[in-house]
């Protein structure tokens, strides 16, 4: 039953209070009709006996407390999904904006989804080759993982994400793949960059794009990632596709949440963000994964820009507590002209151990990875020391570590935006060449047999 009311009491930012209502359900969808007859969507945030607090997904501009009608639709926000969505571009609330026809939905799904039963999950363990050495070798991405990119304003996170989307593949693997891309509050240019990248490579035919740009309503951003993930779940678990979901930029999403929370006068947590930010983000990130007995998977790459490059800011902080690792971009490397500027030390993939080694990549992968980390960390320390004491004060071994750290950044981390490196033929090969710089007795983290087999012989 649909009920229509004209009893708006107040409008405060994205929130509308409707009085004298009856039989309202929590999270129910609301259609707000302006005096001009324009329809805007919202949802019930709090249902009281005779009042309802409605959160708008669209701008409240032009709404009046009089003459505006609120129509309660009796169902939560749903999106109609179909395989025809591939190759299409939608607004942040799921309306086609590419000039094409409306989608004839095969099914309507609640955008909030439902939590995956941990018992039904299948552990992610298929290695995804992104063609980027520092990711493949050190912060390995696996199918069904959620691995965010922690970036900063002005860093090339979009290029990195686009490169991953372009090159990602499973070695020797088959199966349908698809990309679901959701832009939240990014500039028109950034959003167009992705769309054009997808068009260039033809990936657009396998992509579903949801674009909420900076000009679109702030509160719409709260629904955008949910709509995207609902679509992804449909493609992955009902149509058996391997879906890569790219969400950018989560910082804008969190700010939209803060705006709604502030309008509700809730007690704020850290830096004014609502106390439930962790739970809220978890309901997005945890929608990645694999399910036993189903063919498809959802791999998530959320992108967020850290305010002031501060990794302890609530948004990257809470994200890091939920996701399975992180890829951290560094401004220093960017300044040195290194692309992709991935700072490998704070970067991490929690699922790497399941995706590498014999049969997946190569048996020496784990050892090489640990050795690179340890040696690079030591090289960086030597570098700091060299700044204070001068290189002349360094010992023989220290100089080797210093050289290693420099070469590592230049040869291993740095690579061309269009270079697709194979994990075995390129990445591990470069790694061993670099390890040859180090004193032989310092290779403590790799098994002796692998050193014998793979370490390039010294030319005398």
């Amino acid at each position: 039953m649909q009920k229509e009311y004209k009893t708006l009491k107040s409008i405060a930012g994205p929130l509308i209070l409707v009085e004298g209502v009856e039989g309202i359900k929590y999270e129910e969808l609301v259609e707000v009709i302006t005096p001009e007859g324009e329809k805007r969507m919202g949802k019930v945030l709090e249902a009281n006996k005779d009042t309802a607090l409605v959160q708008m997904f669209e701008s409240p501009q032009g709404l009046k407390t009089e003459e505006t009608k609120a129509k309660f639709l009796g169902k939560p926000l749903e999106i109609g999904v179909s395989e025809d969505m591939l190759g299409r571009v939608f607004s942040g609330s799921g309306k086609p904006i590419d000039g094409g026809p409306d989608i004839i939905p095969e099914k309507k799904l609640n955008i909030n989804g439902a939590p995956i039963n941990p018992y039904s999950r299948d552990f992610p363990n298929d290695f995804i080759q992104t063609g980027i050495s520092s990711i493949d070798c050190l912060t390995t991405l696996v199918r069904g993982q959620k691995l965010p990119i922690f970036s900063g304003a002005g860093l090339p996170h979009s290029r990195v994400a686009a490169q991953i989307a372009r090159q990602a593949k499973v070695r020797g693997g088959t199966g349908d793949f698809a990309v679901v891309f959701a832009a939240m509050g990014v500039t028109f240019e950034e959003s167009e960059y992705f769309i054009n990248e997808f068009k260039k490579t033809g990936a657009i035919n396998r992509s579903v794009i949801f674009a909420n740009t900076a000009a679109d309503p702030v509160v719409e951003r709260i629904a955008t990632p949910r709509i995207a993930l609902t679509t992804a779940e449909y493609l992955a678990f009902e149509k058996g596709m391997h879906v890569l979901v790219i969400l950018t930029d989560l910082t804008n999403y969190c700010e939209a949440l803060r705006e709604v929370s502030a309008a509700r006068k809730e007690v704020p947590g850290r830096r004014g963000y609502p106390g439930y930010l962790y739970t809220d983000l978890a309901t997005l990130y945890e929608r990645a994964g694999r399910i036993k007995g189903k063919k498809g998977s959802i791999t998530q790459i959320p992108i967020l820009t850290m305010p002031e490059d501060d990794i302890t800011h609530p948004i990257p902080d809470l994200t890091g507590y939920i996701t399975e690792g992180q890829i951290v971009l560094s401004r220093d490397l960017q300044r040195e002209g290194i692309y992709p500027p991935i700072n490998v030390l704070p970067s991490l993939s929690r699922l790497k151990d399941k995706g590498i080694g014999e049969g997946k990549t190569r048996e020496d992968h784990a050892g090489v990875m640990n050795q690179l980390f340890a040696a690079y960390a030591q090289g960086k320390e030597v570098k700091e020391l060299a700044v204070i004491l001068g290189e002349a004060a360094l010992g023989e071994d220290d100089l080797k570590f210093l050289k290693f750290a420099e070469e590592f950044e230049k040869e291993f981390v740095s690579q061309d935006e269009y270079k697709d490196r194979d994990i075995i033929d390129d990445t591990l090969d470069i790694a061993w060449k670099l390890l040859a710089i180090l004193p032989r007795h310092e290779l403590k983290r790799i098994k002796e047999e692998y050193i014998k087999q793979y370490l390039p012989k010294q030319e005398k």
Binding site: N112, I116, P118, T279, D317, Y321
Partner: protein
């Protein structure tokens, strides 16, 4: 069933009126979908209810049914090897009912009511019994005999009838006539309210270590059986890996592992790995002694709040049978956040950072349920619950309220350090900031069971690490060359302690578990090197770089590869070290 009506819905909080007969913490069923909820505030005839499931589509006017029962769990055979959500619904049954996604209003029992268990009586008809006495046993898994006890509602009585054979948990197995002449029928199943600690005879000071096989924990910062410890650390520092390592290798008899508001894939990992891994103490699959509670971060927030109480109640139940139980809660910060969210929706006056003012007392109450106790019953058996909570401080900042409140009540602090994690030094437990207040209690045990000089060894090596941190600052300012040979030796030794003793690979099955005697010997070898080298360091012509090149130094690096079954090899190694360094010294003199 009595019922009231909803007047407000705001996320997991529902307010209903017509609830005059409701009790605090009573369980209610919300709406005709029968969503489970619990009353957390009463105001005249209005009750505030936290709902354990998603409240989408619920609205004012919907009914609320009272059940008359407080939030309780099923206790009885069948708990082990189970995986539950926060309110003790078995996840495999939820999957059967709803598929791979958890939907609402699923009602499944915590324990299988139809399965028959082989009940073996240990008391006979006519025997006198008192509360807590063991009436019989059921072999629950190959590892654990589940003991059926006289419930604490019966103080004293006589066994009127006792059966033997195959029964379900709801069938009567014993009849007891109490001292007042009332008869009680006893089944294997009991229900217990999760917010009420289970009774015991008396608590004791913990003085037996919980051996974990992790070198930095057992030797440097040990925890006692019945103790409480916390692991705070920023993300990526290895909280979960440490917790899982503890769950795998510690010598408790029962493990309760609570995934409280954490990642789904982590629970899946435990679920897939534990049936495969063997317990180093018994050789049986780890799952046979484990109970998992998984309320992942995207599952309803109110059930997250309940999950740690569900866990500790089950832990106490096995403790009462006379077992040593270890409980891991990962992470208590998520539990505190659930409290904060409910408190915010109740519009309570917030304390620090929006957390409710009662955060401290709730935290203390939880950790106080740990302890080493004498159980109820005439046989004076002992049991313990060790509680280990992970804390996830925002930004790694330990001054935040959850960490601070936890530190006030736990006696072991394993501080995880992001810097160590970046260097891939695991476990990333900072040896300078961590502490254990059980060291003195456990000293006796070590001296008796491991080695007379264990404590001394520990103190000396920690002392060296302390000096290292000071020396490092000097090196940073003036360089290595400015140090004396003695100071270089301290740096060399502490590097060896760090890399060859403290560093431990949790993913290498052999390295992940080191028995205590072996821990002692590895450290002993390193320290012997130090002592012997100290003796000759003053001699003329001593070159530090020559000492480091001695082949024996490489042997110390490999010391941990010696199997724990060949401890005598360590004695040989120690002799070799003394000999090698003394030879080196006498050559100096000759020159």
């Amino acid at each position: 069933m009595e019922k009231g009506n909803i007047v407000k819905v705001s996320g997991p909080l529902v307010v209903a009126n017509g609830m005059r007969n409701a009790k605090m913490y009573e369980v209610v069923k919300v709406s005709d979908e029968k969503l489970m909820g619990e009353i957390i505030e009463l105001n005249e005839d209005e009750a505030s209810i936290q709902v354990y499931e998603d409240t989408v589509g619920i609205g004012p006017g919907d009914p609320v049914y009272l059940t008359g029962e407080t939030m309780s769990v099923d206790l009885g055979p069948g708990l082990l090897t189970s995986i539950y959500d926060g309110i003790q619904r078995p996840l495999h049954l939820i999957e059967k009912e709803a598929g791979a996604f958890i939907t609402r209003g699923i009602e499944v029992p915590g324990l299988d009511r139809t399965k028959k268990w082989d009940f073996k009586p240990t008391k006979a008809k006519g025997e006198e019994v008192e509360e807590g006495d063991i009436l019989g046993e059921v072999q629950e898994t190959t590892l654990i005999a589940h003991r059926i006890m006289v419930p604490s509602t019966i103080k004293k009585g006589t066994v009127e009838e006792i059966k033997s054979g195959q029964f379900t948990i709801e069938e009567v197995v014993v009849v007891i006539k109490d001292s007042e002449g009332k008869t009680h029928e006893i089944k294997m199943l009991q229900r217990w309210s999760i917010r009420k600690p289970r009774p015991f005879k008396n608590k004791k000071i913990p003085n037996v270590p919980l051996v974990t096989g992790m070198r930095v924990i057992d030797t440097f910062f040990p925890i006692a059986k019945g103790g409480a410890g916390c692991i705070p650390g920023p993300f990526g520092a290895g909280k979960t890996v440490t917790q899982q390592s503890l769950a795998k290798f510690c010598n408790a008899e029962i493990i309760v592992y609570i995934g409280c508001g954490e990642r789904g894939n982590e629970m899946t990992d435990v679920l897939m790995e534990f049936p495969e891994l063997k317990d180093p103490n018994t050789g049986e699959p780890l799952m046979k002694r484990t109970i998992l509670i998984a309320n992942t971060s995207n599952m309803p927030v109110a059930a997250r709040e309940a999950s740690i109480y569900t866990g500790i109640t089950i832990a106490e139940y096995y403790r009462d049978m006379g077992y040593h139980v270890a409980l891991m809660a990962d992470s208590t910060s998520r539990w505190a956040e659930a409290l904060r969210e409910m408190s915010g929706r109740l519009e309570e006056m917030p304390g620090e950072e929006g957390y409710p003012a009662y955060l401290g007392s709730k935290t203390a109450e939880f950790y106080e349920r740990a302890g080493y106790i004498t159980c109820l019953g005439s046989d004076e058996r002992e049991g313990s619950v060790t509680a280990i909570g992970a804390v996830s401080p925002p930004g790694g900042d330990l001054s935040e309220p959850v960490t601070q409140n936890t530190l006030r009540v736990t006696k072991v602090f394993w501080g995880l350090d992001a810097k160590l994690a970046y260097k891939r030094h695991f476990p990333a437990i900072n040896w300078l900031s961590s502490y254990s207040l059980y060291v003195d209690n456990l000293a006796n045990f070590w001296q008796k069971e491991v080695a007379e000089d264990y404590m001394e060894l520990r103190t000396n090596s920690m002392n060296l690490l302390q000096q290292e941190s000071k020396l490092e600052e000097i090196v940073r300012l003036v360089g290595m060359d400015a140090l004396s040979s003695k100071e270089k030796l301290i740096l060399q030794t502490s590097k060896s302690i760090r890399e060859d003793f403290l560093f431990q690979n949790a993913f290498d099955y052999v390295d992940a578990f080191t028995p205590q005697k072996k821990q002692y010997w590895i450290l002993k070898c390193i320290m012997t090197m130090y002592q012997e080298a100290s003796k000759i360091i003053e001699k003329e012509g001593f070159e530090f770089s020559e000492l480091v090149k001695l082949p024996i130094m490489q042997k110390i690096v490999k010391a941990k590869d010696i199997s724990h079954e060949e401890l005598e090899k360590y004695e040989e190694l120690e002799k070799d070290i003394i000999e090698a360094i003394q030879n080196f010294g006498s050559k100096l003199q000759a020159a």
